[in-house]
Symmetry: C2
Subunit: 237 residues, 2 copies
Amino acid sequence: MAPNEIYQYSVISALMTGLSSASSSTTVSKLLSHGNLGLGTFESMDGEMVVLDGQAYQLKSDGSVGAAPETAKIPFGSVTEFVPQITKKSSLEDKSQLMQLVADLLPNARNHFVVIRVDGRFDTVKCRTIPPQAYEGEHLTEVGKRQTVKEYHDVEGTIVGFRSPQWSEGVSVVGIHVHFLNTDRSFGGHVLAVRADSEVSLGVAACTNLQIDLPQSQEFGARVLEDDAEGLKKVEG
Amino acid sequence: MAPNEIYQYSVISALMTGLSSASSSTTVSKLLSHGNLGLGTFESMDGEMVVLDGQAYQLKSDGSVGAAPETAKIPFGSVTEFVPQITKKSSLEDKSQLMQLVADLLPNARNHFVVIRVDGRFDTVKCRTIPPQAYEGEHLTEVGKRQTVKEYHDVEGTIVGFRSPQWSEGVSVVGIHVHFLNTDRSFGGHVLAVRADSEVSLGVAACTNLQIDLPQSQEFGARVLEDDAEGLKKVEG
């Protein structure tokens, strides 16, 4: 794929509905063939995925972090060959300032996707990691109720993810969706809050091409998918 | 692209919002490089587009039909290299029976896209064609109020289009969206109603891959897109 084109496996409404069994999944190696930066989750929603510099990491709710095997199954993932179009150094008061910075840097991309990467030392990163589904098909909002939340202070690492446009509701997480991984690759997760009093390095790119591969399983084809914007905001916002 | 992968230029919510100027458009030749069957509209929403056997036709609201020049601009279009997976001969009571037939033939594709092609002699085809926007940015629901509606009887031709899944609201026209062109390529339009007392030939294929190219214009990037499911149903349902 060309730089900053987004490849996505499945749609967020399928994940919300709990579709994350092996039959509705692709593999890490297939996902990585489409991009070197991104995020996602694993079979049975077992943790958060961070794709960074071409390597996929699995961040489990027990706090463990490891390189994901190439054969690991994933029910949802978004990646891109990231080439930053604009870079900026800035402190970060909170997650909404990150959102504002992205909007200011790419004012004419409100209906495009935006790839986001932030490198540096953060005073606070509050992360959540989801545990595996308690049973096949458990909805993401239910899984989210058992999530682990941890706050890390004075840590170095990278935030990666996307800002998705309003029209992509049902497809992606509308707004900013970012995951964190520390430099030592030992902790991280889905970013709930962030603060950096000193400057960190922000890189962004607007994406005008999206490719979606849908699971071909009978399970995916037969289920009624949830269009639950409120629930999604709670668990992925 | 591989057979039955869908290529789409722009998203339906952009078209609803009236984004169909030259700067937010691609060309017929670029669209045709991705598929040989499909539908769409033209710059300033000047009529309906039918793509059939690799040729794009422009069906204007004054009743004229012509081969669209390769350089003609289009703000929205969906095409695929169609290879039918299932074919069936059937009479058609109405449009909802067509919808039911598609659902029966592909029961496990409710979250996939489906390509539809129907060839034969139809007792009734009721078509609408939209006129050009009265001013740049005029919303599709407003343009639709000036549409031409015609009912054709005992006509031979082809219906082409897509069934799009619920999760694709904002992206595509959810449900069945089909256009008609008669065999002599002299009339047709967006299909509002259809009836075939004798058998016609239906071909369908489930699509598990969608590629979206977004307009790169400032106009596209800056506008607030309408998420108007009700309005869309009225004008494209």
